[in-house]
Amino acid sequence: MPNPAKNNVTDSLHRALLSRRGFLGDAHTGLLGISLASLLGRDLLASEHDKVALESRAPRQLGNGKLQFAPRAQRVLQIFCPGGASHMDLWEHKPSLDKYHGQPLPGEENFLSFQGRSGNLMRSPWPFAACGESGHKISTMLPHMAQHVDDIAFVHSMTSKTNTHGPGCVFMNTGHVTEGFPSAGAWVSYALGSANDTLPTYVTIPDIRGEPPNGKANWSNGFLPAQHQAIGMNAQQPIRNLHLPSQVSAEEEADTRQLLELLNQHHAAQHPGDSELQARMESYRLAARMQLSAPEVTNMSGETPATLHLYGTEDANPLKAAYARNCLLARRLLEKGVRYVNLYCASRASGVDGLLNWDAHRTLVSDYERHCPVFDQPTAALLTDLKQRGLLEDTLVLWTTEFGRMPTHQAETTGRDHNPDGFTCWMMGAGVKGGTSYGTTDEFGRRAEENPSSVWDFYATVLHILGFSHEQLTYYYNGFDRRLTDVHGHVIHPLLA
């Protein structure tokens, strides 16, 4: 039923991709097959012209000419380490911290950060080592990640608008510090649609330790239609309501679906032209296919022992083993054509700072000695595996966190407080120039100094690699054509291959 309250996908696309004023409305697109194609937001752009029915398995071209640039990536893996992972203890070497350890941070002696007063400068407890041909130094706490440094493009000059976890995570994921905006994954689902017939377009894999700060707002579809929301699953928890209830036999299910089809066909016959009815019937068929394929994707019994060992899925540390299985799940989802995967390593704030996530306020050493081993090997294995399988050719990998940490220790502790003024994120894979670093913080790691970059710049670059201008990928909501990059953002060209 072509009802404008649906904010239907065609409409959105027109709004998004054509000039508002230039579009004079093709009334027919609302009627013909568009609802079918809009299920799961699948290949929206293609469907607009081709009216591709879901049954058709013909290969689809990404974006089908609606892209503003030649796309380099077809899908995205975003690894998120919530809690504010320390840039100067993981990714950006700051020799001056060794040199001036124990001395006040010049000019900021009285600075009040999130939890209050800071003490003096504090060196990183771990040495840094040069890696690969690029010689970029990262912490020796990440020995497995070291092998990928030549493929990584670091942005060492990231900045955030907020020093608080909730808004920070939401900002890093949606480009806005307040709740309610669509996440990057939802935008990409909206922009590119699905590339598979049996799995969701956008999947979020929360950590076994729980949800990140601000929970589900991090993978919300915001004001985008609900089909762009992330489906939550991990190696420990399947998609909700995927399985047939125990009371219902396979035969009963088949007979029930048969009757349902008959009743719906009957009803549809009395409502010719209302394609929404066909769309809903198709959604039931799709759900049935998903019931078959989703358990397949989570079943890792077909993986070789070498692969399992590479990831560490049987590691004695249960947190590491759980995260490793999620890493493997991420690869399997990407392989099957899931467009955007959010993979979380760690979770929320708790009764002990830094226990469940990277928020090392008081005990940096013990916190990171707990988190780094969980993160290092499985993540590195995932990257290796993607590379070996050729998936990195058209998969963009992002590593993100909501902010960095202070170069000083927090008063009366051996941890570091939040620092939104300078931190590191990185990307690698499709379209990315590996072995590069963009921007730096000052000599202590306190503030972005060279080429300060924003979350918006980061996503402008991501969208560019996916073939979109971040200024033209828009959706109208209450007074404004909204964007992932708000009203900001510049593509960081030096990161591009």
Binding site: M1, S38, H165, E179, P225, T256, T413, Y476, G479
Partner: protein, 977 residues
């Protein structure tokens, strides 16, 4: 969209006519008139966006003085000499405006203007003065006063479509599109449509039958009257309003703590609609209920509107960030207010003047000043009399309590004083150092043990507490005698087979978070957080031990912070069988950790039986008083906000940053409606309550055209699925244009003349032929107007999430119509510093109430509700999306709620039984009757033969519940004609 395009094209065409016509014809117009009519539109339209406030190139064309002064390149006009004027040169050479040059006619006008002396009025040009191609001005359609419109009566309107004013408007618009309306829908369709529309529930089979049978002329009117009188009307339409005002029952952001006392606002909205409270009154109560009805709980509760949005309460120590967070909180209130009541996106003016609407940044900060005193908090509600009465009842009890507490303190003080006097006598008993967070060691004679127990009788911060201490590692060492055993070993370690048991605080979503096992994992971080006084470590086998060592902060990083709270007083016992215990060490011979601990020890030593009795008596008496205090009913304390005087001066925040204060502002009406309404300006020190009251008065003033327009459009939106304006909270330039501008103004006037009582407006709309049309698809009409914005048919719609859930409950005969009060939950709420909401897998009968009574927490995902587009209330939702996803199918086929409801419906049908026909009844006949009943209950119709046969087959094979599950999944159930 096409409509908007038409309007735009129209505007351009008209502009063209204005420009070309007179410019080439008239020669001798008055300079002021010529300027106003021809020059000003070009300057405002094409020049001011750069050469106004932005002063690009140093050039400002808003005032005469600035124009004559010119820009960085010098003077831009030479009055009387166009060929020497830079401005003319630039526009002729098409250098300016840079993207789209002026038309020849426009260039000619500017040239002539300069040639004729370059008249410029004394008052400055205002970029907001006129609507242009790219933005709205004060003359924007929605900002103009309501026009007095009469329903059109062209000849084309047939008799049946000329009776009702709404039909006249709709029919006339259809005619211009070459469309005609659809015939009237049948009675079954009408009662289903109207019942869902007004109550969100399906009609019962009896109601359908009765209406179909009712041949009275006013049967339909009676139906509408009955539905409007139903208490379910307020529940359904109340839910609409709760969407619009982003009503949520958790705080949002990282902590997102649930709010358990916000539900009275939900009940208030429902009650107000059921009572047909004038809507302007409802608006005033929501903005200033505490001011206009102090002490009236039913009025004061309205202010929950102000504080039911999300806010960040994490507590930032960084002052700049804390100020930003506060600004975000007020921003939510500004946006909610301007969008819900006025359809204005004032929020877009936070960092700069609005890019598309004539809303100044100063307007935003005038509202900021208006709301600056709002605190998101509970407020005790009641009349002065009630408050006094309660205070009167409490006074003697609190007095008695204070006396007892004083007495108790005095008594304990004397005990302590006596203890202090004799402290020296005891010092000799305490020779060992006090327990230390960094590490506390107990060495004792070698003893054979299987179990080691720590019993805590006071933490190191509070001698009276025995929980909430932490232990990062607890070591049990074997004796080093017996050389064969080698060096001493820590046999408590889990790696050595040790086990640890002790109650811990729980993080429900991460089971291992604070467990006792952390004391024997060989790592100092993280610690066990104790929820009980005991830790028992069981060794793998009997061992000869002579030492334990334990700590809460082995690294010393935490110092004296609460996060390393440790034991103060303790005892250590060992046992071989876990039943008979032998004490091996205690803190009794250590120095006390604080003076309070010391005094407690001495008091316990010196206290007499008589004193013990006295202490017990006082404790009993205190408990008794507390019990009596608790018996006095508290006044309602609800989440309706508190209000502090917020004194100015108030400033614009330049670029939205609280650190960059700009122009001074006062609480005032937004200038956006300055041409239509009588505004107000208050002094910077006007009382906080006065600011909100004035705003409420202004929003509901008879000359405010937006409030009734926006409200009338919302009603239309919910009745027809799309408003006359399809962006119900945005009547600005970026929003939709009205499909029926005359009808909108007429309807808005009806709202005002009905004294803002909505029930008669509902009836007005629903008794139109427009509303009663069929929804049948018509290919040719759809080719012209696919979405039926012009209403050539009644637009079919899908039920909302709430309607779907309530429908299943109602059909299954399980719906619990208990109205009001605290909400139910379809999630499990967990709190451990931050909150987590997990969707329930099983819904119990306590959840079988109408969905509007669900506790509406933010950032939750709820089966059925979220699947079917029930919004997260982080933002207002002026219109819901309507999506179709496979997740809906998974939920509707597989969630236990569906299975439960299918079973209940089957049981209901079985229990109600077939109509008695006497004697034995064949199985097929019984099945057929059951199938018929299932169809009637679910779809308000009987099955046809084919449906009957297929359904009966399923019932025979798999039982009635299988059919019920299938019925719940039919399109017909959730799509409404």
């Amino acid at each position: 969209m096409p409509v908007r395009e038409l309007v735009c094209v129209g505007a351009i065409v008209m502009l063209g006519w204005c420009l070309c016509g007179p410019a080439s014809v008239c020669a001798d117009e008055v300079p002021a008139k010529f300027f106003d009519e021809q020059v000003k539109p070009i300057l405002v339209n094409r020049c001011l966006s750069c050469h106004g406030a932005d002063k690009k190139g140093g050039l400002d064309l808003r005032t005469k003085a600035a124009l004559l002064q010119g820009g960085e390149s010098g003077a831009v006009i030479e009055p009387g000499s166009p060929q020497e004027s830079l401005l003319v040169d630039y526009v002729q050479s098409e250098e300016m405006p840079p993207k789209k040059p002026l038309s020849d006619a426009e260039v000619a006008i500017l040239t002539r203007w300069v040639a004729r002396g370059g008249y410029f009025p004394d008052e400055p040009l205002d970029i907001f003065a006129l609507t242009t191609e790219t933005r709205a001005g004060y003359d924007w359609w929605s900002l103009r006063p309501l026009s007095t419109v009469l329903p059109p009566s062209p000849d084309e309107i047939g008799a049946s479509w000329s009776q009702h004013p709404i039909d006249c408007f709709v029919r006339a618009a259809l005619h211009t599109k070459g469309l005609s309306p659809s015939p009237k829908a049948d009675k079954r369709t009408l009662i289903r449509r109207a019942t869902y529309d007004l109550t969100g529930l399906p009609p019962t089979p009896q109601e359908v039958a009765a209406f179909e049978k009712d041949q009275r002329e006013d049967a339909y009117d009676r139906l509408i009257d009955r539905l409007l009188a139903s208490p379910h009307y307020g529940e359904h339409w109340g839910r609409h309003w709760l969407d619009v005002v982003r009503f949520g029952e958790s705080r949002g952001y990282e902590r997102n703590e649930v709010i358990d006392n916000a539900w009275p606002f939900r009940d208030y909205v429902i009650r107000s609609l059921n009572d047909d409270k004038p809507f302007d009154q409802l608006v005033r109560e929501q903005l200033a209920g505490d001011v206009i009805g102090p002490g009236e709980i039913d009025v004061e509760v309205g202010t929950a509107f102000l504080v039911c949005g999300p806010f960040d309460d994490v507590g930032n120590q960084n002052p700049e960030q804390a100020a930003q967070s506060r600004a975000n909180t007020i921003d939510d209130v500004i946006r909610a207010t301007s969008e819900a009541f006025l359809g204005l996106t004032v929020g877009c003016s936070r960092c700069h003047d609005h890019k598309f609407d004539p809303i100044r940044q100063t307007d935003y900060y005038s509202l900021y000043a208006t709301f600056a005193g709002i605190q998101h908090a509970d407020r005790e509600l009641g009349t002065e009399e009630q408050k006094e009465q309660r205070a009167g009842q409490l006074a003697p009890l609190t007095k008695r309590k204070e006396e007892l507490q004083k007495e108790f303190a005095k008594f304990e003080g004397e005990l302590t004083a006596a203890a202090i006097k004799r402290a020296d006598e005891f010092v000799g008993d305490w020779l060992r150092p006090p327990a230390s967070r960094r590490g506390t060691e107990e060495v004792f004679p070698p003893v054979l043990a299987r179990h080691v127990r720590l019993t805590v009788d006071g933490t190191d911060v509070n001698p009276a507490a025995n929980i909430r201490y932490r232990i990062d590692e607890f070591e049990v060492w074997t004796s080093e005698r017996g050389t064969s055993e080698g060096p001493s070993r820590n046999v408590a370690l889990a790696d050595n087979g040790g086990q640890a048991i002790g109650k811990n605080f729980v993080a429900e979503d991460f089971v291992g978070a604070y467990v006792a096992e952390l004391t024997i994992d060989g790592k100092f971080e993280p610690p066990w957080i104790a929820a009980g006084p005991e830790l028992v470590v069981t060794l793998a086998e009997n061992e000869t031990i002579d030492r334990v060592f334990f700590s809460s902060d082995r690294s010393g990083a935490a110092g004296d912070q609460f996060i390393a709270t440790f034991v103060g007083e303790y005892q250590i016992d060992v046992s071989l069988n876990g039943e008979d215990w032998q004490a091996v060490a205690s803190s009794a011979t250590r120095q006390p950790v604080t003076e309070a601990h010391r005094n407690k020890r001495i008091v316990e030593h010196l206290i007499t039986d008589q004193q013990r009795q006295r202490r017990a008596d006082l404790t009993t008496q205190l408990a008794e008083v507390d019990r009596k205090i608790a018996e006095i009913a508290p006044l309602p304390t609800w989440w309706v906000g508190t209000f502090k005087e917020a004194s100015g001066p108030f400033h614009v925040f330049v670029g939205g940053s609280p650190q960059k204060t700009g122009e001074v502002v006062v609480p005032a009406s937004p200038s956006v409606l300055k041409q239509a309404t009588t505004g107000y300006h208050l002094a910077a020190d006007a009382p906080e309550s006065e600011r909100r009251r004035q705003l409420a008065e202004w929003i509901t003033a008879p000359d405010n055209p937006l409030t009734p327009r926006v409200l009338a459009n919302r009603l239309w939106h919910y009745h027809f699925g799309t408003g006359i304006v399809d962006t119900p909270s945005d009547f600005g330039f970026m929003g939709g244009r009205p499909t029926h501008p005359g009808l909108l103004d007429w309807l808005a006037a009806q709202v005002q003349s009905a004294d803002w009582k909505l029930k008669q407006i509902h009836k007005l709309i629903m008794t139109s032929q427009t509303y009663q049309q069929q929804s049948a698809f018509e290919e040719i009409a759809a080719g012209i107007d696919a979405d039926s914005r012009y209403l050539w048919r009644f637009p079919p719609r899908r039920l909302s999430a709430e309607e779907i859930r309530d429908t299943l409950l109602a059909i299954a005969g399980k719906i619990d119509f208990t109205a009001g009060g605290p909400g139910f939950r379809l999630f499990r709420y967990m709190q451990d510093n931050v909150s987590t909401y997990l969707p329930l897998d099983q819904f119990g009968p306590e959840t079988y109430r109408r969905s509007v009574y669900h506790q509406n927490a933010r950032a939750t995902v709820i089966d059925i509700m979220t699947d079917f587009d029930a919004p997260d209330c982080a933002f207002a939702t002026p219109r819901r999306t309507e999506t179709t996803t496979p997740l809906q199918a998974l939920t509707m086929m597989n969630h236990s709620f569906i299975i439960d409801m299918a079973r209940f419906l089957a049981e209901r049908i079985e229990a109600e039984g077939p109509p008695e026909q006497g004697g034995g009844e064949s199985a097929p006949a019984k099945t057929a009757a059951q199938v018929r009943r299932a169809f009637e209950l679910a779809l308000a119709r009987g099955p046809d033969q084919r449906e009957l046969n297929a359904a009966a087959l399923l019932v025979e094979k798999h039982g009635l519940a299988a059919l019920c599950r299938a019925m719940f999944n039919t399109n017909e159930l959730i799509y409404l004609d």
